[in-house]
């Protein structure tokens, strides 16, 4: 018997939480963006695990869409970051303090 699905799901939940903590604590925009990818991957793992547990293909199809969305988001997001920070020396969100809370 293979490892029970709940183990995978707990692992995915931990990865997701790590991503959330990363976004809220890190200031480097690239790392913040990587944390978003981390969260999406945790979701992928969840989908695949449920897919196996329910013996249903829909979860795997969902991962497929997440991959497409992630790719499009990365293209636009990195384009945005380059456009914003091209003329700046460092890439931290602290530089962006013109608008305050």
């Amino acid at each position: 018997m293979s490892v029970p699905g709940s183990w995978y799901l707990i692992l995915a939940a931990v990865l997701f939480s790590i991503g959330v903590v990363g976004i809220l604590t890190r200031r480097n925009v690239l790392v913040m963006f990587m944390c978003v990818e981390l969260m999406l991957n945790a979701v992928n793992l969840t989908f695949v695990t449920f897919s196996r547990m329910l013996n249903d293909v829909a979860g795997q199809v969902a991962v497929f869409f997440v991959l497409v969305v992630a790719a499009a988001e990365v293209v636009v997001g990195l384009g945005l970051i380059v456009a914003i920070f091209r003329r700046k020396a460092n890439v931290t969100a602290d530089d962006l303090d013109i608008l305050k809370g």
Binding site: S17, L24, R27, S51, V57, A58, A71, A83, V91
Partner: protein
């Protein structure tokens, strides 16, 4: 008791790649150098691909490696190189102090919500509503069938996403290049654009008279 029923190779694969995924994820959020963070991200993504194989999703594992490690992380590294590696971010230098507690509280909330509430029963849903995952070889064909039948609508909609990605990349790269020409070609009476320009116009006597 539960451990006894799990075959050793499965257990080893899960523990090793699960640990690698966790270490990678922690590396992403703690390492100061973004290049190291990106490499740690690769480790996590690769471990997740291994877990996909372990869960009989071989095709997705291959796509995961190609799309994430092959395309997305490479893009990240390109951008890091383009903008220059920035060492000043330590993670301790928080501009907004409330963020850290909020971060941990929300992380704990998500963990509690997901793992405590579920107790023992996770997948409470109906089985095989879309299509069964039969045998190991037929996954891909079953996946393809679902994409072109049940999920035809979102599949076609993703084409719009790809167009947006192309147009968006073009627009973003062009606005950053065109910045100065736009300013120079401004007519004197149309005072649009940036604040700096308004300042110069504001102090010009001709406009004032």
């Amino acid at each position: 008791m539960m451990l006894a029923t799990i075959t050793t190779p499965d257990l080893i694969v899960f523990v090793v790649s699960g640990a690698a995924a966790l270490v990678g994820a922690l590396g992403v959020i703690t390492l100061r150098n973004p290049v190291h963070a990106a490499l740690m991200l690769v480790m996590t993504l690769f471990s997740i691909a291994v877990l996909f194989v372990e869960e009989q999703a071989q095709f997705l594992a291959a796509v995961q490696v190609m799309v994430y490690a092959g395309a997305i992380v490479v893009l990240f590294l390109f951008v890091i190189m383009l903008l220059g590696v920035d060492h000043s971010d330590s993670g301790a230098r928080d501009a907004i102090r409330w963020q850290r507690p909020v971060a941990f509280v929300s992380a704990v909330l998500i963990l509690l919500e997901v793992s405590v509430l579920a107790r023992t029963r996770w997948a409470t849903g109906a089985h095989s509503t879309t299509a069964k995952l039969t045998g190991s070889g037929a996954h891909v064909s079953e996946l393809a069938r679902s994409v072109f039948t049940t999920y035809l609508a979102p599949f076609e909609a993703t084409s719009a996403l790809l167009i947006i990605a192309v147009v968006g990349a073009v627009v973003l790269s062009r606005t950053s290049r065109n910045r100065s020409p736009v300013r120079e070609t401004e007519r004197p009476e149309s005072v649009g654009g940036s604040g700096a320009e308004e300042a110069t116009l504001g102090s010009t006597p001709e406009v004032r008279s």
